[in-house]
Symmetry: C2
Subunit: 227 residues, 2 copies
Amino acid sequence: LIDVRNLTKVYQMGDVEVNALRGVTFTAESGEFIAIMGPSGSGKSTMMDILGCLAQPTDGEYYLEGEEVGQLPDNRLAEIRNRKIGFVFQTFNLLPRTSAQHNVELPLIYAGVGRRERKRRAFEALESVGLADRVRHKSTELSGGQIQRVAIARALVTEPSIIFADEPTGNLDTKSGAEIMTIFRGLNEKGNTIIMVTHELELARHARRVLHIRDGLVERDERRNGT
Amino acid sequence: LIDVRNLTKVYQMGDVEVNALRGVTFTAESGEFIAIMGPSGSGKSTMMDILGCLAQPTDGEYYLEGEEVGQLPDNRLAEIRNRKIGFVFQTFNLLPRTSAQHNVELPLIYAGVGRRERKRRAFEALESVGLADRVRHKSTELSGGQIQRVAIARALVTEPSIIFADEPTGNLDTKSGAEIMTIFRGLNEKGNTIIMVTHELELARHARRVLHIRDGLVERDERRNGT
Ligand SMILES: Nc1ncnc2c1ncn2[C@@H]1O[C@H](COP(=O)(O)OP(=O)(O)OP(=O)(O)O)[C@@H](O)[C@H]1O
Ligand SMILES: Nc1ncnc2c1ncn2[C@@H]1O[C@H](COP(=O)(O)OP(=O)(O)OP(=O)(O)O)[C@@H](O)[C@H]1O
Ligand SMILES: [Mg+2]
Ligand SMILES: [Mg+2]
């Protein structure tokens, strides 16, 4: 499903170069549940953005279902982002002055889903993360953990086959975090692929594989048996 | 130091009322280290905003060092916010198109500190959270955990006697989170007061007292001996 080779990302800042990724190489099969861990600033979000087709590497190749993403035309990329991939951002990235309901409907609007169906699906996605009574609140009227859950609902509403979640429970109490993991495990059991950055060892246990990132490189690829 | 009585906060949304706080009452002595825990949406940030003099309650009283905060004139409130209190926001609230250095200098600019001294102090604050090599980066050029650490540095740079930290390690790996707790413990040993919202039991252990919040009320006030 995913085949990355020598992924490199360099940020140029005047005369200084920041080497965010220094040659990341690994493959992932469809239906895997992979946790990504590593120190703050080690390149996890940078890698996730490239895998989620939201950013381009400076060097290296990324094959998604056999297609080299760097060579794809823009409309094909947009289609993949909207239909195949669900992305939960580390900094949420909701439209601030817009209700939770509308934020979660947005991907369905892009996918051309009719008004009645998208209202229903957005509501159900919010209900699944415990926010049925917050659908009309704007981001400024929600708690930190509620904003995070709206971001999760938005990533799931198009029923994507690949879910990239960047620190999806960083602002959630233990119980809410466990509820999100239950949703992810259920989706994985149905055959969806989950790639999740987390800094909590407890949550990484749900994954059958952990990629340890340090200084822009895969330091260790840990595969585990059973759960 | 802190004496709150029947703190109430109601958000009016059209014909619906959200009772974020339903009568919170407790006291805290100078030099305490208190953790605040509770489910997502239970009112923790709302309470922190009131304690940090950033929001007004709908009802109830808040005495800070004997003064009833609701009765204070604006300039006195601004002075307290700038000199006495350091606040780490759950959603960071940095100026986005501004460097880490400048973001951390901002409270010192308000405090009237001279240019050379504030440059030095802002740099030292960033260095203490491991960001000496990121001082010129803007928020958009920093990782999630780095943004969080800039927010922490900004809260500490005025050397406040009371630190309110709302989920200060939600985006940090275990090691970076432990480094922040070491800073907080050091400040507490010097006599500063720390009030920290966290959802991680492991971190709440650093506190000698845990206020458990549920549905806008203090459900339990847990005091512990030793560490
Ligand atoms: N401006 C607002 N208008 C309406 N409701 C609001 C507003 N701000 C917050 N709320 C609601 O008040 C409740 C308490 O919010 P608060 O941010 O204090 O929760 P919290 O305990 O910090 O949660 P979390 O752990 O998710 O950060 C939430 O249910 C939220 O939806
Ligand atoms: N636009 C940019 N310009 C310059 N440097 C950048 C930019 N974006 C990110 N960086 C740097 O690249 C490095 C990797 O960032 P990244 O966001 O991938 O880290 P991360 O592993 O997700 O960290 P965290 O756990 O804190 O979220 C960081 O050191 C960061 O400062
Ligand atoms: Mg990140
Ligand atoms: Mg909060």
